[in-house]
Symmetry: C2
Subunit: 895 residues, 2 copies
């Protein structure tokens, strides 16, 4: 026969599947001999059976009866007895803690008769009636579904301005009567006087709460299976509200906010748990508790040490003192801030409680990211304007500007700026580069602004919908507050807050450490900060020691490369050469595009050559000794020309005014020629190389000449040429031939040996599916997971966000944007196929990833698992990727 | 030891891998005892060894010596002897006939000495010197690589206006000397006098010609492996130019043009093969040959019968008569026209030479298509205006119109029209439907115009670049010729020709048969046509009997459905509901899109309901008893609104003139709201269903109501609801719930039972990769191979064509458009994955395809192989798909 019920003496902290988290920890504490009130746990299995059949298993009733009997015999009291009654708490306890579920019913067992027994046993009538009042209120709300407002309202009316403690036993008896009436009125039934019926109904209510819509939505988002069920813990009541020698509290074995070593907690004399939550009275700190009740306090400190040594981690404990006797009601491994996570992990290593591997698995890349953002000077004055979405974390302050040009202009004068737009598009890129932060009125967390800002490590608040942005008048308004170009504003990318005023922003100590090294950071740090920085250094160093994945950066300029190298990048995984054609170079590439004869085009290309060569000289010099993957031109050419619709309108307006311009007409003709209905699916990447003669050759020549020049000087330049958007081996074969020829030409001209790896992006499903063929032509693959996600799902990043991303999150189609965390089920399969087939054909094939996902903490684990050689990500993500690569290598939980 | 050389008496017609096609057939004829001049074949294996090592295998030289010795002994003459020399021809012969390879060197063995021996043996000095002249010319050109112009030019100069036959032996001796000098001059070496050296050099030249660029390109295009190599046939020379009792000819066992039963051929007395090719003299028909040389002719007829009975197919034979003795030099299964293919296949069945299965495997869908196109009345007068690309075959004549509206207007008056556009876009769809043919100045064979026209079976000539189309003035011009709206023009979609003038177009007899049945077609047919129609009927009927694949049609209206059913469609595989929102319905859907409140939207939707219901009533009635797959709305909504750029320009112009319009502004706002940078990857398909409340519900309700109404009347309506663009099982799960609810609602309202299959398109890589999950929510899959091709390759059909399709064909990346014939290597893999995983989860999952590829003769074989249940294609492709499905079932060669 199945055991549906376990006393707390059975099971341990690893029985969470069956007993839930709370039940498992109660059993563990009991096993350790800590003072836990006795009780039993009804298993998750019982819950599953109940939910499947709509009724509890018949054996369950008997088993609860027997468990109750054992409890009663142990304590020598009976549930709901008229003399010294046993009362119990009924609490839910799933494997994972989960908002939206019924939590607790206290004082089960009280009724119109046992209330007198309690009064006599406690020698306190007021306490007994107050306990009954609490039962009615909790039971009414959570079991019978009465709106809590109903009770609150009636209670307030009866108190008539008095505080709870001013109420007499008689007052409370009156409240009890009123609450019973309200239950009849609102729940359509009497409050059950039978103690066992109270218990059974509470248990069923816990079971049912597993399937509330809020709980279901939460599980879907957190990818928790729907079929786990919850356990129910039934525990003998102990009371912290039996006078001044009683009380209740919460404590932590270390400070969960700062990570400081030592014990922290609150104690509220003469109170029950819910009073602590209500916050009407100020609790005492633990050292005040020491003075108030040295015995209990000493017992508590001993228990805390015991638990921390046992759990080998920060513990979070709920306790109650009943007339001088300490009881532990709950414990769990405690939540903590990112800084605390790093400090505590390092402390526990020092205390020889855990190994460095374990310490590494206790911190996450997500936490690490939080430590790297700049911070507002906490003393600065500020006015909140509005709140948008926290799209890219950090704190940024500066002058408000309303277009890209103004951003560049103010920034050139040395003024930090915040770029404020309704929404951004690729034309805003230069402005976003120049700005300290980006604020948009529209778009969600995967809008262009959000994605690009995250990619660049720029702070971003987006979708601040209250904000009315007027780019023409160069001002913005939200309600009564407004600001104009040049006004000082600040945005907090971790909260979404938008402020008016001059607020200083300071680098975080961790980012000082990352950028400038341990010594510099330590020189400036106080003791606490110093401990944090040392902890980060220790864990990151360990991650570097254990990880198999190399970490490269995506960088397009010498400056990017320098920063990336400082942050630990072991090469450049993606240099986007198109970024070298922006700004004042735009004119040069425009000439190539507008060329009307092959001669004109060749002339235009030859003007680009020295410029590109200089770019590569700088980049390869900065990364001397490390690989630099240079991607040949990828985007459609029309991206280098003006926007078609804008130009059409401009020409039409000029025509209406009789002021047509030959230049605009020529430009328009080119734009029309290059216009594509779906540019993402058009003339891009390798297709450009095959269709536009000389374009890729120019780029390869620039790389080859730069390499030859540097190697002649003894600089170890290690370029790799990467061909984008390959869909078939033949495309790569043809371009590869061209590359090899150009490199051989340059080698002959310079009289040197010159070879370097040639590889391809894998960013189309077809490339992944035919990876065996493509591997014949490629020495390396780099997965372009952005494009691969777009084509595998058949939606573009920009359009998804605008049109249906929010709906898809709401409806649970996505749990997270597939552009942020790799969609392993779909896109991941293609990567696995490509890895297997590519390596099958060419065992030494070098494999990496250079999409946004390369720096995503969760996705890094996947890339480790499938056997890639490296990930490449934005420079500022490099430390995170290093940490997560280390965590992946030791098999830590993702994230 | 490897045998590199085989005498003709070894091997047979099935030894093509080793002996090449020509060698195998020579061996076969020898084996049959037919008069073949003796000789031997050097194997493809020898060629492969030579090409791999750059030198012939050492044993080859010995084996050639021995084969030559046997040949000499058999004939009693020695190669290049000064008395009665043996001469040989050296010919290439690969497994597949292949342009670009060296073909033939005749008269090998002649030199300055043996020429006298030949003169004496033939008793004809002139003949001997002419033979030597021919050897020098062929050897110089093909073995030594001298430009043929060099010889032609010198020969002309020496002839000085005389014909070949006017030249005396001395003249020819002079030509020989001149040619020898030219060889020294241009090849840098003497013509080799050693007969064996001539033979070896010729053999090596054949081997080397396997790798000419032209041969390589041809093989890449035809997907012939590069490592097959070619055989070399060395054969004793016989001479058709030894006077009036000699001659040479070509014959066929049946008429390869019409398929008429009987023997056909040409005979040229006193000539060698190359004289027949040159075409300077008119050859005799076979019955004239009967009179001229009854003995040889009778022998030839006997041989032809023998060969046809043996090969059980039309044979194509080359022969020579040397002084009254018949020799067969070559035979192969002959090429034929489509009509001949069908007639001959049926004839051979009647003659009990082949089975019906074999007959079916002898015709192809491609040939069948050719028989279905309308034809120009051959007697009509015409003026050629220009020639474009033959984009969609057939003959169409009518009034020129220059926009969609005019096409609809003229067509409504009963005038057939040709729609003439620079290029077409989706706005031209109604015009294309109304037109008999489409002519564009721009775009290639996969442009919008070409693809859509092929899909609808409309004749189309595209990319007629000479044509200057002026849509505003409503006229077009090419050089001196021009035409205006209303002028009569005609286009030939099989040749690309564009004509001026009134040319009658008549239905082909085969299409009369397909549309109206055998009796109608036979009533009108003459004897020849009648035989063709009967042959088609017989083979198509047999295909229907043997095929496993069902064939459905893509149809969006009752009229489409009626036509499809007449052509044998066994259901509708794709009803595109968006086509129901075009024309005068556009206003209704526009109201839905522009609705500003949920109420407004609901009102607009409710106006669409009766319209949609009526559509489905008609469609389901026409297809009573057969399944009708209705796809819910797929395209982005902005397709129903005006073009954004045009509207922007219109509004800007109005602004400049101070004439702004509120209506246009509102429309523009909606267009801007719906604007997407890559609409193909945007808010489409199931995403629309999830984002726009009520839209899919409306469509499902219309289907359900129509079905209930018809079933009540006893009409067997069998709809299937298909959800487009699904990428994850959750999307389908959510929409499926909605569909099931609506159907249940309607069933309850009408008091009937109402269920029908719900399925999905598989048109995204992710859908294929997660087909196991999706199959839990779908009763059927229909592969949308157009979109699947787009996303797998990452290019859109429209943009591919505009930008790089031509280059890709040229460079061999494509051998055919992946939008025409399924890319089995890439896209095909996803289909196989989806079939396997889908059926793995749900064994009774129904599987079909509804992309363009469903009607492609080659692709149908793939769909059969992977186990689909049906293909669905344009109505006019249905007979082709039926034929190919039958051919696939009996394992015929594709296509």
């Amino acid at each position: 026969m199945t055991d549906w019920v376990f006393d707390f003496v059975h099971g341990d902290k690893d029985s969470k599947d069956l007993l839930g988290g709370k039940g498992a920890n109660l059993a563990e504490m009991t096993r350790l001999g800590l003072p836990v009130p006795p009780g039993f746990t009804i298993t998750t299995e019982a819950c599953r059976a109940y939910l499947a059949d709509g009724v509890e298993p018949s054996a369950l009733r008997v088993q609860v009866t027997m468990a109750l009997r054992r409890l009663e015999n142990q304590l020598g009291r009976r549930l709901g007895d008229v003399v010294d009654p046993l009362l119990v708490s009924v609490r839910s306890g799933a494997k994972f803690s989960m908002p939206g579920m019924m939590e607790t019913v206290l004082n089960v067992g009280l009724n119109d008769y046992s209330v007198a027994g309690l009064a006599e046993a406690a020698n306190d009538k007021r306490f007994a009636w107050d306990s009954y009042r609490r039962l009615l209120q909790m039971f009414g709300r959570t079991v019978l579904g009465v709106d809590p407002e109903v009770f609150d309202h009636a209670f307030s009316a009866l108190k008539d301005g008095r505080s709870d403690t001013d109420l007499s036993a008689d007052d409370l008896r009156e409240v009890v009567q009123r609450f019973k009436d309200l239950i009849v009125e609102h729940a359509g039934r009497e409050f059950p006087q039978d103690p066992r019926e109270q218990l059974d109904m509470s248990m069923r209510a816990v079971f049912d709460s597993w399937n509330t819509p809020r709980a279901r939505i939460y599980r879907r988002r957190e990818r928790i299976p729907h079929d786990l069920g919850t356990a129910v813990n039934v525990c003998a009541m102990v009371f912290g509200n039996l006078g001044e020698t009683s009380g209740t509290g919460v404590c932590f074995t270390r400070d969960p906010a700062s990570g400081r070593c030592g014990v922290y907690g609150d104690y509220l004399p003469n109170a029950q748990g819910e009073d602590v939550v209500a916050g009407t009275r100020t609790p005492l700190a633990l050292d005040e508790f020491d003075k108030l009740d040295p015995t209990s306090s000493q017992q508590l400190r001993t228990a805390m040490r015991r638990l921390e040594t046992h759990y080998r981690d920060l513990c979070d404990i709920e306790f109650t003192v009943e007339r001088g006797k300490l009881w532990l009601l709950q414990t769990r491994v405690g939540k903590r801030t990112p800084a605390a996570a790093f400090r505590i992990a390092a402390q526990l290593v020092d205390e020889q409680l855990i190994t460095l591997d374990e310490a590494l698995s206790r911190v996450t890349g997500q936490q690490f990211v939080q430590l790297m953002f700049p911070q507002f000077d906490p003393k600065a004055e500020r006015t909140l304007v509005t709140t948008g979405l926290a799209a890219s974390p950090g704190a940024a302050a500066g002058r408000a500007v309303f277009d890209s040009a103004a951003a560049v202009e103010w920034a050139a004068r040395g003024e930090p700026v915040i770029l404020v737009r309704r929404e951004t598009n690729p034309d805003d890129l230069e402005g976003m580069i120049a700005a300290a932060g980006v604020l948009t009125a529209r778009g969600g967390k995967t809008s262009h602004a959000a994605v690009v800002a995250r990619g660049m490590g720029r702070t971003c608040v987006c979708g601040a919908e209250e904000l009315d942005v007027d780019p023409v008048a160069r001002k913005a308004r939200a309600g009564e507050l407004s600001f104009a170009e040049g006004d000082r504003i600040a945005i907090d990318g971790s909260t979404g807050a938008v402020y008016l005023g001059e607020i200083a922003v300071v680098d975080s100590p961790v980012s000082r450490y990352l950028a400038e090294g341990l010594d510099v950071a330590m020189a400036e740090a106080d003791e606490e900060t110093g401990e944090l920085v040392r902890a980060v250094d220790r864990l990151l160093t360990h991650a570097d020691e254990v990880r198999r994945l190399r970490v490269r950066a995506n960088a397009d300029s010498g400056e990017d490369a320098r920063r990336a190298r400082a942050l630990g990048a072991e090469g450049i995984g993606l240099c986007r050469t198109e970024h070298m054609f922006l700004g004042d170079r735009r004119g040069l590439i425009e000439k190539v595009i507008l060329a009307e004869t092959p001669d004109e085009r060749d002339t235009a290309l030859s003007m680009l050559l020295p410029v590109q060569r200089a770019d590569f000289l700088e980049l390869l010099t900065e990364m001397a000794g490390l690989p630099v993957t240079i991607r040949l031109l990828d985007p459609p050419l029309h991206e280098f020309l003006p926007d078609r619709a804008e130009l059409l309108v401009k020409v039409a307006r000029a025509e209406e005014r009789g002021e047509s311009s030959a230049v605009d007409s020529k430009l328009l003709a080119a734009v029309e020629r290059l216009h594509e209905s779906n540019p993402m699916l058009g003339l891009r990447g390798v297709r450009l190389g095959l269709v536009v003669p000389g374009l890729f050759k120019l780029q390869v020549r620039a790389v080859a000449e730069a390499t030859a020049e540097l190697r002649a000087k003894g600089v170890e330049a290690c370029p790799e040429i990467m061909v984008p958007l390959v869909g078939s081996a033949m495309e790569l074969h043809l371009i590869r031939q061209e590359i090899v020829e150009v490199v051989a030409e340059v080698a002959a001209e310079q009289g040197v040996e010159l070879t370097f790896p040639i590889g391809t992006m894998i960013e189309l499903p077809r490339a992944a599916l035919t990876a065996d063929r493509i591997a014949e032509e490629a020495e390396f693959f780099s997965f372009g997971t952005n494009d691969l996600t777009q084509t595998t799902w058949g939606f573009s990043r920009d359009d998804v966000e605008a049109a249906f991303f929010a709906t898809y999150l709401d409806k649970g189609v996505f749990t997270v944007s597939p552009f942020e965390t790799l969609d392993e089920i779909g896109v991941g399969q293609l990567i696995e196929i490509a890895v297997e087939r590519g390596r099958g054909k060419r065992p030494d094939l070098h494999l990496g990833v250079c999409g946004e996902h390369g720096g995503d903490p969760v996705s890094v684990h996947f890339f480790h698992k499938v056997g890639l050689d490296y990930v490449s990500c934005s420079a500022f993500r490099v430390p995170v990727a290093r940490l997560e690569a280390g965590r992946a290598a030791i098999g830590s939980v993702r994230g």
